[in-house]
Symmetry: D2
Subunit: 284 residues, 4 copies
Amino acid sequence: MQNLTATLLVSCPDQPGIVAQIAQFIYQNQGNIIHADQHTDFSSGLFLNRVEWQLDNFRLSRPELLCAWARLAEQLQATWQIHFSDQLPRLALWVSKQDHCLLDILWRWRSGELRCEIPLIISNHPDLKPIADQFGIDFHCLPITKENKLAQETAELALLKQYQIDLVVLAKYLQILTTDFVGKFPNIINIHHSFLPAFPGANPYHRAHERGVKIIGATAHYATAQLDEGPIIEQDVVRVSHRDNVEDLIRKGRDLERVVLARAVRLHLQHRILVYDNRTVVFA
Amino acid sequence: MQNLTATLLVSCPDQPGIVAQIAQFIYQNQGNIIHADQHTDFSSGLFLNRVEWQLDNFRLSRPELLCAWARLAEQLQATWQIHFSDQLPRLALWVSKQDHCLLDILWRWRSGELRCEIPLIISNHPDLKPIADQFGIDFHCLPITKENKLAQETAELALLKQYQIDLVVLAKYLQILTTDFVGKFPNIINIHHSFLPAFPGANPYHRAHERGVKIIGATAHYATAQLDEGPIIEQDVVRVSHRDNVEDLIRKGRDLERVVLARAVRLHLQHRILVYDNRTVVFA
Amino acid sequence: MQNLTATLLVSCPDQPGIVAQIAQFIYQNQGNIIHADQHTDFSSGLFLNRVEWQLDNFRLSRPELLCAWARLAEQLQATWQIHFSDQLPRLALWVSKQDHCLLDILWRWRSGELRCEIPLIISNHPDLKPIADQFGIDFHCLPITKENKLAQETAELALLKQYQIDLVVLAKYLQILTTDFVGKFPNIINIHHSFLPAFPGANPYHRAHERGVKIIGATAHYATAQLDEGPIIEQDVVRVSHRDNVEDLIRKGRDLERVVLARAVRLHLQHRILVYDNRTVVFA
Amino acid sequence: MQNLTATLLVSCPDQPGIVAQIAQFIYQNQGNIIHADQHTDFSSGLFLNRVEWQLDNFRLSRPELLCAWARLAEQLQATWQIHFSDQLPRLALWVSKQDHCLLDILWRWRSGELRCEIPLIISNHPDLKPIADQFGIDFHCLPITKENKLAQETAELALLKQYQIDLVVLAKYLQILTTDFVGKFPNIINIHHSFLPAFPGANPYHRAHERGVKIIGATAHYATAQLDEGPIIEQDVVRVSHRDNVEDLIRKGRDLERVVLARAVRLHLQHRILVYDNRTVVFA
């Protein structure tokens, strides 16, 4: 299954015959579908679809494919993306001082779990530079203050452009991005250390302990202008009890944060997520 | 979505164009697909598919549909089933003395969670007849001994035929069916009170306690001639500790058994399960 | 272990020697401890303890025990309860129109999972009276309007007194109790159909669906004047996906509500819960 | 709570007054108990206890404590251990070629989650030496063949002695130890990549896939002469579906292996585990 494939993510108004038309389009050009999943949201009348097919005997070149598909997409009034499996997404990791999410993603990347390139790490602190060095990744330290935030974001945007980054992963970056930044760079995944919408904002473990919950969680979501209100990609939870103090919650939470963020990044890299109406459809 | 629908379950050798042909078949007859899911098992080269579409404007009558589809299916070398949403499957519950799975399924049935008819309860003990009476369901008591087992199974098969039963649910029946019986009536779902393949056979909770496991489970599977080795439909687990004695395991396990069996029955009634190679594909 | 036992729940300022003094008190009166669990909250300096011992050879009568213990408790500045295993707590179930939590608790009660008496069901609707009749439990229907709320609560308090109720279980009662009522009757367990503090208040499943969460939950807590803010006893969760509409969330949630409420009630009936600082210590 | 503490783990025949005698022993010597947990196995009549107390004002020196306790223990016919919080257990990691469990434990160790010393890594392959170097840990490569197994185990025992190792952690070592070795060095924790007792032995993920289970697991246990039959310390599970092939199971399983092994090692290092009758009591 390491063959060359194309993956189409498409959403359009629901109407009879969409599946037939898309499948026909691929079949008549001699593509062999290896994964197809769809969802219809009946309340909004939206049809969402992921199709992946082998390109081995495909009769269209990539430009021809894009051109031919665009014509069909226009008829369907569809928004869409097409990704080719030999074009690895380029990922930038943004961190602060905590290393657990960073190390976890780097380890999964090196072990082959995450198919992408990681050319860039950005941090507001110099602490994790040795890890970047160890993995041979460029590390840029851009400390943030109230005064320099906008200027630093401009510099960060320039770095994202320079390194041709497709996806920013906030691996415990712990800084709020401006609305302007989020508007200019749409593909940002954040890990929040609570079971959203419980405990948005700062210090969720302290507040979870104070509230006396019996389960804590972590949430990976796309960053939007509204803090902690972006489309949720993945969540997971773990039991706690009265024996767990705040430090225990933080420790147990780290394990959650690592796996939840890693799962979300992997789903995105495999082009399995469609966003609509501040929600995600995950074709897992 | 309470519209009249047809559901096609199909498995056939994988080849390019299957999705297109099936979708085209439905579309050109003016069916609107509301659910489609597929799976390709690359090791065995098998393609498996579930498609559900609305029949409101469908141009073919049911006999015409079956006839037309059968021709396409033959080309695809497919095995298949087609179900119509207004034909409720008929279910028989087989029980012994424990009432928790029986009551749970009957409650879900009455509350509308399980779309089926339940005209028949069979038991080897008279104990649960009052429950059958309360729900207005015929109750047949067929006590099993070593001597009469084959004769009773013949009587049971006759009852299944008489009541036109599509699915037998062993809701803690606790008797082993003969290979002959299983061969004659294929649609049987059993609940086993362990996390199979751990602790097959008798007294799984006692053996789980003795082994000192930290998690116990329950498994819903199709019954086959080999005891507890049929295709697994659904499993779930719950944590236990050294504080839990065998009675606690039995109590905690009852909650598992109820939900795991109910989920499996619901999936079957919605025609979401395909079996191949002693495994299930569950289009949930 | 069905022997006659006494259970002491105690909380007091932490100091050296508490365990020794309590254990010594029981031992010198020839009680055999069969369960002991303790917790020290170091931030508040509070010591919390549950001890259960066999009364078979205990040298003190119950009045003597209470009297002798009270003297020691005064030295320890302790608040405490002592419960005897042959005095079954008396439970009132409050319901509205939904039957799943009611039926579940009644089934567990009849099967011996819940050691208590259930002499009273109160509802603001007549719908579930047949279930009360079937289990031989008195059913009182007290419809609530804005105008009669206070008067009806007075009538309800009178019923709780008349039936000598120790614990009220709001099994989907769906009405808010006044601060006055909660102040007058402290032992009330409520089931909320969300993973609190996410989605407090009305329509949590609708809001969970709108927010696009990947996991939903249920929470059993003691009722306090602040709606949905009382001490949490138990929580559990289940995964959902984009395929689940609101009706699916409600259906999946029902299973959660049943088990979470049942676990909380069982823990309370076994005197395993201590409340302090709007949190619970659960000696499970 | 980073004060100096002593932890007593004790098991003895159950009889009245044990808790009182142990608590009294600590109290009269001015120890302040900060954690106490106990369990009585009524079927075997065994009492098991963990007590941890602060040594700040304790009146006995360590030799005096051991001497005085030994006398009481003899009366109670107890087997016991006493550990002091400033004596860090010394841990040896045994690995093969897979790095995920090794890296995970080393990361937790460096971040302070695991209070121990790790002076030694043993492997039958040289592959992971760079990781040992990076963390400044001695690495000994002892390749195993059928012929040299006994000789190598002798060398390994010598290393364990030389490095004064208290606990061996088989972090995916993938070699079977001889009965002789296990008899000579009792504290060995192994991680098995299945939900034991399902799929003991080799290739559990392949066999889980073949069996079509819907949940896979991992098990941390003490190694005994019988392969995969030692006392279970911790288990956890994750859902899988027909979409997961063997590689997916291996990938998902790695996450389980890491956390399950780490939890077991942490519990052991905190002296929270008592073994009896091939089972564990975990005072978590």
